[in-house]
């Protein structure tokens, strides 16, 4: 009844190698191809102006890529997204951790948070443009202000769930503030930070679209709105997918390797 382990260690090691090293890339490729296939089939079946096929979208992409227009708008949007992201994550994390740690601060600022969380993007953007003029600072500021409450909410939960045992240890062993934040707090907040930054990037980009729609003269949002006015879905998708491709590249080439390193210590399940 006993099944004796027969595979040799060497064999196992190879198998594990294949499992761990080769598959990720392949899997991602298969995944992307699957997505493309679903889209293509859906577009072919729908046969509608509203859902163009991949080649139709690629045509627009190629046209605007060759003319350089796409890169320009993409770069403008990415610039705004990057600045707003850094600002929102930094400010939001500080506030969120503060509120998570101090119960009094949390009680006091919670209503403010709920307010800022629920102010429509439109209101913030319009007020920013009105007060600070139709310029980059207003645009980026408006995006960041829209995102900050979301970062706060997530990081606050993380700070509330901090392990008091480790904080006590750090206190007794007199970790300085820097040490404590870097080695005790941040590693515990990593999953919250990951969640906040992934959904954060997406949210920021969506707000950037509105910001560009309402008062900027370049950027992907500006272009998408233009194509929307013409009801040119292929154009909208071409710009959307160009941005998604950048995000995917960031995810696969920066975020995932970084996360893999940061969570090395977790026992593989």
């Amino acid at each position: 009844m006993a099944l004796d382990g027969m595979a040799s260690v060497r064999g196992e090691r190879l198998r594990r190698l294949a499992h761990d090293r080769l598959t990720p890339g392949t899997l991602t490729t298969i995944s992307l191809l699957g997505l493309l296939a679903i889209w293509w089939i859906a577009a072919a079946v729908a046969d509608s102006r509203v859902l163009p096929t991949p080649p139709q979208v690629f045509e627009v992409f190629w046209r605007d890529a060759v003319s350089g227009e796409l890169w320009f708008h993409l770069a403008m949007t990415l610039m705004r997204v990057a600045f707003a992201f850094v600002a929102a994550m930094a400010i939001g994390s500080v506030i969120g951790i503060g509120m998570g740690i101090s119960r009094q601060a949390n009680r006091f600022f919670d209503p403010w948070l709920i307010l800022f969380l629920n102010i429509p993007a439109l209101v913030v953007i319009v007020l920013a443009y009105i007060w600070f003029g139709l310029n980059e600072v207003a645009a980026i500021g408006a995006i960041a202000v829209n995102k900050i409450p979301n970062v706060v909410v997530t990081m606050r939960e993380g700070a509330k769930a901090l392990d008091p045992q480790l904080s006590e240890m750090a206190r007794i062993y007199r970790f300085g503030a820097a040490k404590r934040i870097r080695h005790v707090v941040l590693p515990q907040l990593q999953p919250y930070f990951s969640a906040a930054s992934r959904s954060g990037l997406a949210l920021i980009w969506k707000i950037a679209l509105v910001v560009e729609l309402l008062g900027r003269s370049d950027g992907v949002g500006f272009q998408i709105n233009l194509y929307f006015q013409l009801f040119d879905v292929a154009g909208i998708l071409a710009y959307t997918l160009a941005f998604v491709a950048v995000m995917l590249a960031i995810e696969l080439m920066l975020v995932q390797p970084f996360e893999a390193r940061a969570t090395r210590w977790r026992r593989p399940r």
């Binding site: 009844m1 006993a2 099944l3 004796d4 382990g5 595979a7 260690v9 196992e12 210590w265």
Partner: protein, 249 residues
């Protein structure tokens, strides 16, 4: 390298035969944890594993439990449908459930809860039933883990250093409780301990392991009935074991 884990009929022995177990460390290096550990726990008997810290005892239990599947060798577990209870080396209670809830959650359908009062009483937990694990001292938390294991009336019981962090009086009381629980149903039990006195008092067989990677250092059978193991017998036995396996006592 995936080792075999299978189940034999009830009453059958637990057969452990691990020919190699290695971990891949986060630094990429291989950690050889077990070199060759093979022993048997006859159905309804009590076997103790003793070995230096870090030699692979917990790993052996994990393999028996099926929590580690990548190993060379085989494990045959008695009684396929029998309940298994474990006292892990850490209490492993659900921090968001009270002590009582933690125990009740582990109870399978068929088992009534009439006996819980008595169990909590013996374990000195009566007052703590409705408290959360974060409010317990480590010793109390360990006792809650013991309560959980005893409550389900297992057919296979695995204990990883169950009585550390307890004062001698409590530990003695719990050892007596264990003997009662165990002999009432002739549970098959495998315990890890560093305490040779405890082992001598409770076991039918003691398996001594070497330093990591673990090999069998020797197996000692105790034929004397538990009731006959008085203080004097114990001292002689301990001295004998100390001579045979120096360093353990």
């Amino acid at each position: 390298m995936t080792g075999g884990l299978s189940n034999a009929a009830p009453g059958a022995p637990l057969r452990v035969s691990i020919t190699r177990k290695a971990f891949r460390g986060a630094d990429g290096k291989l950690v050889e944890a077990i070199a060759h550990v093979a022993f048997e726990v006859p159905g309804g008997s009590f076997v103790t594993l003793i070995g230096p810290s870090g030699c692979g005892k917990t790993t052996t239990l994990r393999i028996v439990l099926g929590l580690e599947t990548e190993f060379e060798g085989s494990v045959v577990r008695p009684d396929p449908d029998g309940r298994i209870a474990v006292v892990f080396q850490e209490p492993r209670l659900l921090p968001w459930r009270t002590v009582e809830e933690n125990v009740r959650l582990a109870l399978p359908e068929g088992i009534g809860t009439e006996d819980l009062d008595e169990l909590f009483d013996v374990l000195g937990l009566s007052e703590m039933r409705s408290r959360f694990p974060t409010e317990l001292s480590l010793g109390l938390a360990r006792r809650a883990a013991l309560a959980r294991a005893f409550a389900i009336r297992p057919s296979l019981l695995l204990l990883d250093e169950p009585f550390v962090s307890l004062d001698e009086m409590t530990a003695a009381r719990l050892r007596r409780l264990l003997t009662t629980v165990w002999s009432a149903r002739r549970t098959t039990a495998l315990m890890v301990t560093h305490n040779l006195r405890e082992a001598v008092q409770l076991s039918d067989r003691i398996v001594f392991l070497t330093e990591r990677p673990a090999k069998i250092r020797g197996i000692h059978e105790i034929k004397v009935a538990r009731e006959a193991r008085d203080a004097e017998w114990r001292e002689t036995e301990l001295r004998r074991l100390d001579r045979e396996f120096p360093g353990v006592l």
